[in-house]
Structures are given as C-alpha cells and as structure tokens.
C-alpha cells in the first residue's frame, strides 16, 4: 500500500545510541514505551525503560508447537522473530473495565470507565502486526458502534515499525500479502543492518510526527551500503517455507461437512491458545463483580475464545458442542467469513497459532486439506 505521507526523503542511519535517543524522546513525550524484552524464557512485548532493555543478541526458534530462545551470533536487538502475543495486549487489553455501578436510594448510578492510560509508543512492530492492527481497527472502529477505548489508544499511539530480516519456520506473511516489507501504518520504520560489522538502523519516517522526531535526532543520512543491506534483509525475510493459498482458503466456508474437521478435532485440545496469540482474534466476554455488601458493582470485558463450550451458550445449551464445530468456526471465520464481514481475511500469516498450539496444528495444512490442496 502506498505511503500517503512519504516525501521519499533520504533515510537516516541510527546507531544504538540513536535508537536509545529515539526511545528517550518518546518517553519525554509522556508515552508508555512498550517493546521487546526477555521474560519467562521468551521475548515478549512489555514495558521497557531504555534501549538497554531490548533483547540484544537473542533470537528464537519457532516451529509447530515449539518455541525456544536461542543465542544469535550477532548483537541484533530485533532478531527474535515474533513475541508470543502481539500488540493487542496493549491496544485491547485482556481485561478492561466497562463501567462501575453504585447502588443508591431507589436505583443505581452508572460511572463510565476511567480515561485511558498515557499514550503508547510501540517499538518493534512487524509488517504482519501492522496488518493485524489495521484489521482490529476495522472491527473496533469502522462500524455503527465503535469502541472508544480502542480508538483512543490506537489514535494516540506512536508506532515504530521494524522490518524483519529473516523469517521463522512458522512465518507465512508473504502468502497473505502482509509482509515482510513494512509499507504503511507506521510513524517510523526501522531496518536493522550490519554493514562491515557496523550495527545500525536504517530509519524512515511514515508520518509528520515521525519525520519531526527523526530530524530532531540529528542522525546522519544512511549510505548506499546500508540502504542496500536493508533491501537485502527484507528479501531474506521474504524467503518463507510455509505457504497458504489465501484465495483458495476463502472457500473454506463451502466445506462445512468435510471429514477433515473430525480428523483435526482428534488432535485439537480446544484449549484456545491459538485465539489468545492470534493478533486479530477480538472476541470477548463480560464478567460482573460486586463487593460483599452488594452496593458496588463493576462490569469487565475479558478476552474470550470461540473454543470454549460456554462461548455459544444460549438457553437450552451450547450451539457448538463439538470440538470440530469450534475449530471449524475459528478457521472459517479467520480465512473465509472475515472477508464477508470486513472485506479482507482475518489471518495475517504471523504463524503464532502454529507455534503456540500445544499439538502443533498448522492452519496452513488444515486450510489446504479442506480446500482440496493437500501437500505431501
């Protein structure tokens, strides 16, 4: 997609100090800085203080049902692939208070949720993740009923995108047309490069505020060698072993009785991991809580999963009692009916559902099998 704000200025070259200065500048704007850091034997997106918190020299090895941290042979700070969960954790938190209600004589009063926390700066957003954010923004914004909390958090966020330099075994963004090249939706785009052992970041602005911030850093212009290295990095990342025929997968909806649903249900644990790590899954449930006296009540929204029995419950029982029906709902919505609803597919090819499925069910294999293009 074209960059509407791009004035095709020469990219800058930041070194680690320059990246640190960028993060400091965003902090001085009063923003909550979220970026990759080491925690729980993984690289996750969480609050960071400075550039020193970035996972320098750490990579990950990802495959179906498999994630291991591994040491890189360089000092790359953005060389870890993808974190287990994307940025929906920050933009659409797992628990959100919808309102508080207070009992009073003859009734109750309703208090709307508190205003959102400080604006976010998201450091290290991948191309597939930008696509996921855009898809969730459509769910929460482009409707008769919008979610004001989501809109506020996203509209005030500063996005530092980082282009991938290599693909994980689970990546298939190239198939979905969402990456690895970052083309739109960012304030600043970085590509991590090593030129003659010189560690740096080719930096381009994607918005007026991004351009202003980069200019203030007084970084030198990137040279031809760095710009070339950035191009090579993205080309490397486009080499992906996993593929999904996106066009064919739109037809999943035409196969509600395929025998493969029973086959995948034999493996699927109905645990909901795929929905928790999927960066576009948006389903939620609500929870009502009261204090012991029953005078104060709150209503909370929590992430939910279409893999639970409760999800489809109506008077008389759940609609989807079987695992096959629930898996079918998830993958069919993701690849097929999402198009009817929002004009594009709900899958961005990040491969998280493959990595974090405890039994390694692979969305690309299931889609291929059901739409009749099984690969040996």
């Amino acid at each position: 997609m074209a960059q509407p704000n791009s004035k095709s200025t020469t990219p800058y070259l930041l070194d680690m100090d320059g990246l640190a200065a960028l993060i400091s500048a965003l902090r001085r704007q009063g923003r909550q800085i979220v970026g990759p850091r080491l925690a729980d034997d993984a690289v996750i997106y969480d609050d960071i203080e400075t550039a020193a918190d970035l996972p320098a020299g750490w990579g990950s090895e990802q495959a179906g049902g498999h994630y291991r941290l591994k040491r890189r042979d360089d000092n790359a700070v953005f060389g870890y692939g993808l974190a287990p969960q994307g940025w929906k954790r920050q933009l659409y938190p797992p628990r959100q208070k919808l309102f508080a209600a207070r009992r009073q004589a003859g009734g109750f009063t309703v208090e709307p949720p508190p205003p959102p926390a400080p604006p976010l700066a998201l450091i290290g957003v991948r191309a597939c993740e930008l696509a996921a954010i855009a898809r969730q923004a459509k769910v929460f914004g482009d409707r008769a009923f919008a979610d004001p909390g989501y809109q506020t958090r996203l509209s005030s966020a500063f996005i530092v995108a980082v282009q991938c330099a290599e693909a994980q075994a689970t990546c298939f963004c190239a198939s979905m047309g969402t990456g690895p090249e970052v083309t739109a939706g960012f304030d600043i785009k970085l590509t991590e490069v090593f030129v003659q052992k010189h560690h740096g970041f080719v930096a381009e602005a994607g918005s007026a505020q991004g351009a202003k911030l980069l200019k203030a850093l007084k970084a030198p212009a990137a040279g031809p060698a760095e710009i070339k290295a950035a191009g090579v990095a993205v080309k490397n990342a486009a080499r992906q072993n996993k593929h999904l025929d996106a066009e064919a997968a739109r037809n999943l909806v035409a196969h509600p009785d395929h025998p493969r649903w029973d086959k995948v249900a034999e493996r699927c644990l109905s645990c909901g991991n795929c929905t928790m790590v999927c960066p576009t899954c948006f389903c939620t449930t609500v929870e009502d809580v009261t204090d012991l006296k029953g005078d104060n009540a709150e209503r909370w929204r929590k992430w939910d999963s279409c893999f639970t029995m409760d999800f489809s419950y109506i008077h008389g029982g759940a609609v989807r009692t079987e695992t096959r029906s629930r898996y079918r709902q998830w993958i069919t919505h993701k690849l097929s009916t999402w198009v009817d609803q929002f004009g594009e597919q709900g899958c961005v090819g990040c491969g998280r559902c493959v990595t974090w499925c405890p039994v390694g069910i692979d969305i690309t294999e299931e889609a291929a099998a059901i739409t009749g293009q099984e690969r040996i």
Binding site: Q151, T285, G294
Partner: protein, 294 residues
C-alpha cells in the same frame, strides 16, 4: 491514529479526541413502572428512562438489559413502536439473569443498552397479505410489528397471526389474542402442541396452520419467530405453499455479550446476529439453517 494507518483502513474513523462517540457498552438506568405476569415463567415489564426522555425503536429490535451486579441479557422489545413514552419487554425466566429480572419490582431500576439489530420490514409488505407465524415466547418480538401493521391496516391485504404454544397454559398475551380475534380485519389462529383442560381448539404444530392457507401465496410477506427448528419448518411450509423465500423473514437467537458487533459471540456463518440480524431475510440464511452446530 497516525495518518498512514488511517489511510490503510480505507475508512473514516471518528477521531475520539474531537468528537467523542457514545460508549455502546455503558447502560442507561431505566425505572420499572409496571410488571405484569403473563405466564408462570413469563412476565412483561414497562420501563421509563430515569433521566426522562423517550425511547424510539423499530419492531424486531432488542435491548441488552442489565441487572445490577448480576449480568446482562439480550431481550427483544415487545411494545408498540408508536408509543415512545414507555419501553416494553416480555421475558421468560430461564437463566440467572432473567430470573434476577423476574425478581425486580415496580420502582426498581435496571440498565438498558440499545436498541440493537435489524427490524421486521413492515413497510416492505405494503400491498401484500401479511402472515405472522409465532412459536411460544417468539410472539413477543413480533408484537411490535403486529401493532405497526394494525396501525396501517388499510395498506395490507389480509393480516393473519398464526400462533403455536406448547399447551393452552403457555399461550402468551391470551387476552390480547382474543381481542385481536374479535376484529373483522385480523385473522388469528392458535394451536397447541398438547391439549390440556377444556381446550377445544387446534392441536398440532404451527406449520399445520400455514398449510391451511387463507392467504394469497404469490402476494404474501411473512414474519416468523420462534425456536430455530420451528422457524425452519415454518419457512419450508410457507415456501411449499408458494411464498417467495425472499418475502419470508425470520428472527435468530444467538449468544450475545455486546449487542453491537464487538464481542464476536453471536456469529452465524458470515453474520453477526446482533447487527446483521436478529431479523434476516430467509433466502439469505436458508443454507445456514441446514448446517449443524454452525
């Protein structure tokens, strides 16, 4: 939102910093004016906004009703759309929240979000015979459309209400049905699955009443509401009679947490039942009725 991402959306996103949107998830307190017991487990409440004002809706739409500290349920509106001074809901107590609703009394408060969803397209039936087919508590979401049709009675050919209940004791709005039956411009036929007591009327499923006819199939619009299986058979019976499937409308029930397309629970194939429905044109969803556990 940063400009490129907004452009990437191809959609105008209201800027919340300048034009705050009303949060669709926050309920508005209403006061219960009246409660009438319809059946042993079914009751009708009349509500008015505590802050004053009116409540406008289209027949077939629903609200999310919030019981303080207990939870929320989607309940269709069963009053007269021409009367904006009062909001009417008929509810069957079958779960935790509906039972808590049942325990509320006149003077108590509850929260209301809505109205949500699509409506019965009463005007699209102008010039036609109009056949209402209701099963059980499914008569409640149809009643606003019946009121609207009667308010425009001269615009239709015959207007027919076909209603099926489990037993004579389960007949909803009994007095009103009797009043309607006394009119010369409205045909009301009632059947029960199982006769009890002194019942001398029809026994059998509501689809039997469709088979009897009494309307011009080629010039008929029908609104159908009841249990899913009943709607499927009713639509098939209407189709068999010769009614165009594009003139049959049904109202579908699914789990709903938000009512406005955000929570994902009510998905039925490509549809969000809460905003693409609950009222669907039958020919657009006939295939979905055939898929088990969709």
């Amino acid at each position: 939102m940063n400009a490129p991402l907004r452009d990437a959306l191809h959609a105008p996103v209201r800027d919340p910093l300048h034009a705050p949107v009303r949060d669709p998830m926050v309920p508005v307190p209403f006061r219960i004016e009246k409660v009438r017991r319809d059946l042993s487990d079914t009751f009708t409440m009349e509500l008015v906004p505590e802050a004053g004002g009116e409540f406008a809706f289209q027949p077939g739409q629903f609200n999310m009703l919030y019981v303080f500290g207990v939870g929320e349920v989607p309940i269709s509106i069963s009053g007269d759309p021409a009367d904006r001074s009062v909001l009417v809901h008929t509810t069957r107590a079958v779960g935790q929240v509906t039972e808590a609703l049942d325990a509320l009394k006149p003077g108590d408060s509850l929260g209301v979000r809505g109205p949500f969803g699509t409506s019965w397209p009463v005007e699209s039936a102008f010039g036609h015979d109009l056949v209402f087919v209701a099963g059980g508590v499914g008569l409640a979401p149809l009643r606003p459309a019946i009121y609207q049709a009667m308010a425009n009675r001269q615009r239709f050919g015959r207007v027919i209400v076909l209603y099926g209940a489990r037993t004579p004791e389960d007949i909803l709005y009994k007095k009103e049905l009797e009043r309607w039956r006394g009119r010369f411009d409205l045909d009301v036929l009632v059947t029960v699955d199982r006769a009890t007591g002194k019942w001398g009327g029809n026994v059998g499923v509501v689809t039997n009443l469709i088979a009897r006819g009494g309307f011009d199939p080629l010039n008929t619009t029908s609104f159908v509401c009841g249990p899913e299986v009943m709607m499927r058979y009713a639509a098939q019976a209407l189709e068999k009679k010769g009614v165009d499937t594009g003139r049959i409308w049904v109202s579908v029930e699914r789990n709903m947490k938000c009512g406005c397309g955000l929570c994902g629970h009510c998905q039925w194939g490509p549809h969000f039942t809460c905003k693409d429905g609950p009222v669907f044109r039958y020919d657009r969803v006939a295939d979905l009725f055939q898929i088990r556990e969709l």
